[in-house]
Symmetry: C2
Subunit: 217 residues, 2 copies
Amino acid sequence: MTTPERTSAKSDAKPTTTPGAKAEAKPGTRERIVRATSRLLQRQGYEGTGIKQISREAEATLGSVYHFFPGGKQELAAEAIRHGDEEFAVLLRAGLDSSTDLGEAITTCTRMLAEELRASDWQDGCPISSTALETVGRVPVIEAAVTEAFAHWHAIVTERLRAGGIGEEDARELAGTVISALEGAELAAQIARSEQPLLVTGKHLARLLASYTDGRA
Amino acid sequence: MTTPERTSAKSDAKPTTTPGAKAEAKPGTRERIVRATSRLLQRQGYEGTGIKQISREAEATLGSVYHFFPGGKQELAAEAIRHGDEEFAVLLRAGLDSSTDLGEAITTCTRMLAEELRASDWQDGCPISSTALETVGRVPVIEAAVTEAFAHWHAIVTERLRAGGIGEEDARELAGTVISALEGAELAAQIARSEQPLLVTGKHLARLLASYTDGRA
DNA sequence: GAATCGCTAGAACGAACGCTCTACTCAGAG
DNA sequence: CTCTGAGTAGAGCGTTCGTTCTAGCGATTC
């Protein structure tokens, strides 16, 4: 009775831009809304971000927001989490693939995160942690998107560690610690307004990984 | 002009209970308000927690809240952060002092955190991280309290590492990584609804610390 | 007994919240 | 031309927000 079929356009992958427009010309309304939501959630969290503020920043109207996301704020936030998921995954892959040496690959990740953080004046930390903490155990739709994001990142790191010569079981466990440490270090860096926590954590993670690869290989 | 002198009772340490009552009988209004705020901020974050909800949970009236915290929500939140700071510090000290072995001390910390988390049905993570993320760079009073809390915890861990035979510089750096990793692992555990991320991170931190103590001592 | 003071009590304010609703624009199909 | 349907536009709903305000309670002090 609640029109379960039309929860949103989801992954229709339709252009959404005015038909016939160039791919990267102007993002199209739906895309603009998702991007604005993602950035606002990252900076102000779920409860701190209003739908009207989103529509303002996205240069879309309230009507458009509810047109594309009939599920309201929760559905919109879940989609924004998926956007942030992919964003972080791209950075993670870029860093991890930057070197054949595992330690260097990890420290590159932390260096990239530190640079982004500084460039945003310590505002843009993890794109989903704030929303995740606020909604854990209370907004299932968002929780599901968050869980998937973590699993996604975990899989990326696990695969890289395996490729670096670490065994299946160890790789899975270490990947979890790597992501946790990055997450925590990013929070610490934001609070301290300093790149140091991220860079130091990178160094220690590299050392930890080395203790699994040295004497094996 | 804004009556800067009377921002609150602060650390008056007066009983606040009805005069003459036993120390632990019933916490007294101010204390009840701070405790309720701390728990609510931990679970729902800053923006997700309303002052009326706080007064309801604390079994105090709105008048009482503004009597004790004329600075409003911000001052109240800052005080609650300081409460959470001390709460976490107590657990940290208990865990770190539980063994003469550094690695065991750390894994005890993660085990304690995991137990608390499970006992609260994965609700009560770090008491300040949610609020910290929401207000970073936007609410100076709260930011200051958060910065102080991190510095406090950092000092506790640093001292323990030094006592465990790690040099000054290494101890300071490692303490930062330890706290970051705990913070991140707690978030991961909340999301996964599992003790595993915390326990695994404990194991890895112990191994990392061992790599600094072995071959030195 | 009157005055004082720390604290309780809750009605009321304007602003903002998430969301619903109707009206409108406009390109393409028949 | 009309018709259709995706998308735009924003007024307005009821609710809740943080805060202010006045009134009153009850114990202590003169």
